[in-house]
Symmetry: C2
Subunit: 379 residues, 2 copies
């Protein structure tokens, strides 16, 4: 089991430095030592979020971070527009609805990004308090043009509340630059950590909105967490081992350089798409909005993608993902983020090409590997 190659879009491969950090004794969470670690992590997270605002660390799944972004900025009865182009776009809308918002969904076909102008027009049709969207939709491998969406939302007087669970670190967020109001993210993606930590950030405007936001909250109260963070603490006992591991992972990213780290993600994504095309397969996402961290590939006509996923796991110890909900059986997804290397990608595609052949959908393994080679050179 421990030799499995995790090429799913999270949980991802843990570097040895992260695994070592995880295995350290727990520590006291209200002392100077832990405060110093929290401080270093905050600065590292600010870099990957692209913000000067405090980034709060929450002990929860990424979904908890998204819930925090929603409930700290909205009130029951607020009308909001959620971009639904996949499972997680639906979820952020469902969160708002669970807390009493009036949620309209703007449907976008799987594989396409929302058209910012169309979103602006839709926002103009009613008094929307906020636009809710997912920066990188893990279920379809689509990235939105977040900056453009934030711009049209601002033009319509709407806040922007963003799920960047799988986007964080692997792609630029530019939180301040884009002018987002609130964002939530998770640890088990490009940050190379196990799941269990979430992150949330509020702009100045978001922090003001939090003063009047009436959705109830206790555990996910962000103003309280921001106040604690200023004192080097968290309101409730933090997941100390995960925070210590976060320190290790942020140091790895810092050593590579955030920009180089993200450029590598883009090359990996391009190589993955090239491999799929060389295998004669179709990509779910349009090229212009293809994700940097996960690629969704349509299953060949007649093949249940679940069979391919199973074969890779049982015969080669390689984990990729199938489709979720309506896309079940129709796509397979390869995660190429965090600590995944070009060698990992090569091995994944070599075995994918092999197993496609076994399932009766033969393709040229050499051509698939050559396509990766063209994108990544000697890396």
């Amino acid at each position: 089991l421990n030799d499995e190659l995790l090429m799913i879009p999270g949980p991802t491969i843990l570097p040895p430095q992260v695994r070592e950090a995880l295995s350290r004794p727990s520590m006291y969470h209200r002392g100077e030592e832990f405060a110093a670690i929290l401080d270093e992590c905050t600065r590292g997270l600010q870099k990957v979020f692209g913000t000067t605002q405090p980034v709060v660390m929450l002990s929860s799944s990424g979904t908890g971070g998204v819930e925090a972004a929603v409930v700290n900025t909205l009130s029951p009865g607020d009308r909001v527009l959620a971009i639904a182009g996949g499972k997680f776009g639906e979820r952020i809308g469902e969160i708002a609805a669970a807390y009493g918002a009036s949620v309209d969904f703007m449907e976008v076909p799987h594989g396409q990004a929302a058209n910012p102008d169309a979103v602006g027009e839709r926002l103009a049709q009613a008094d929307y308090r906020a636009l809710l969207f997912v920066l990188n939709e893990t279920s379809t491998g689509v990235k939105q043009d977040g900056h453009a969406l934030a711009k049209v939302a601002r033009a319509q007087g709407a806040l922007t509340i963003m799920d960047c669970v799988s986007g964080l670190a692997g792609m630029p967020i530019g939180f301040d630059e884009a002018g987002y109001t609130a964002a939530g993210a998770g640890s088990q993606k490009a940050l190379m950590l196990p799941p269990g930590l979430a992150f949330a950030v509020l702009s100045e405007e978001g922090q003001q909105a939090a003063q009047t936001a009436k959705m109830p909250k206790f555990y996910f109260d962000l103003p309280k967490a921001i106040k604690s963070l200023a004192k080097g603490q968290t309101p409730y006992t933090p997941a100390v081992n995960l925070v210590v591991a976060l320190q290790a992972s942020l140091r790895l990213i810092e050593a590579e350089g955030v920009e180089a780290f993200q450029a590598r993600h883009r090359r990996m994504a391009k190589a993955c798409r090239a491999a799929a095309e060389a295998a004669g397969l179709q990509l779910l996402a349009q090229e212009a909005c293809a994700s940097d961290v996960v690629t969704a590939i349509r299953s060949p006509e007649g093949l249940d993608s679940g069979l391919l996923v199973k074969a890779l796991r049982s015969k080669h110890n390689i984990l990729i993902s199938g489709g979720q909900d309506a896309l079940k059986g129709k796509i397979f997804r390869i995660g190429h983020l965090g600590a995944a290397t070009f060698d990992n990608l090569r091995e994944t595609w070599e075995k994918t090409a092999l197993e496609l052949g076994e399932l009766g959908y033969g393709c040229e393994v050499d051509e698939v590997l050559a396509a990766i080679e063209r994108e990544c050179g000697s890396e």
Copy 2:
């Protein structure tokens, strides 16, 4: 830092088996392997909770587990009674209030347990929907007679919602036997895990209450989690490394035997109290309600307990806790739970006695150690 002896009431000492489990690669959370681990953990948790109901694992601090117990059983406007005898008794009431309950606090002096008859009389005075309390109050080292409280609540037609964050595993819960409605707990106490996992359980009555409970929730939706658990999954990506570590810790408890494990906690607590008395110190909690997992000791008249805590840490690498809020400076607390041994307790008291002397409150080190010896024999 890694050589610090954690004698605080959480986070606690991690056994080597738990640390090894933490450092394993992350794993896919929707496969048969992880389902088998979840299943084993569920059965182990049922044993320590004393329940046949599904025990849900949440990625959060213990406070999140308590919030889950509250918001899944209550509706805004419900009138509830919270027993406030310390920081965490106040917190469970604050959680209910944050979600719109009308909360009355029943004050109990620090160091005393609530009198069940008095609680029953108070409950009879209004149409209370629920009694909220903390089984083991970490801030004062007091345990409630939970079974008696549940009985008087039932007699008054009130649900019982319990925080057993620091009680779980180190003391018997008897969830089914007592007839509690809902409980929340955490991982970083007697379970010998890092913080970051919470547990929640609902009785049959609690699961029925959840069908009509109107406090909003999404991340902490327990019926959804119970449904997922039946399929060997969690609604949102679980903290897989912590769950794998939970498997390891539950196996350690199982190997020792749950009853023997808890009997050891009672002996450790008794030895700790005996040491305090031999040192001429007063205990905060009355003997009849003294906690099995944490002992709160009054600072000698004139001594700020913070100085003792500091000296133990800086000179001996031993961590104990001071008092919180109104008890700051007035008490110190020794956690003796999970993997802490009698040797750890001896070392802690040897150095405590030494430092009390240094601070001008001399006591006989030999007598303190002899008191421990009398309670623990050759262990």
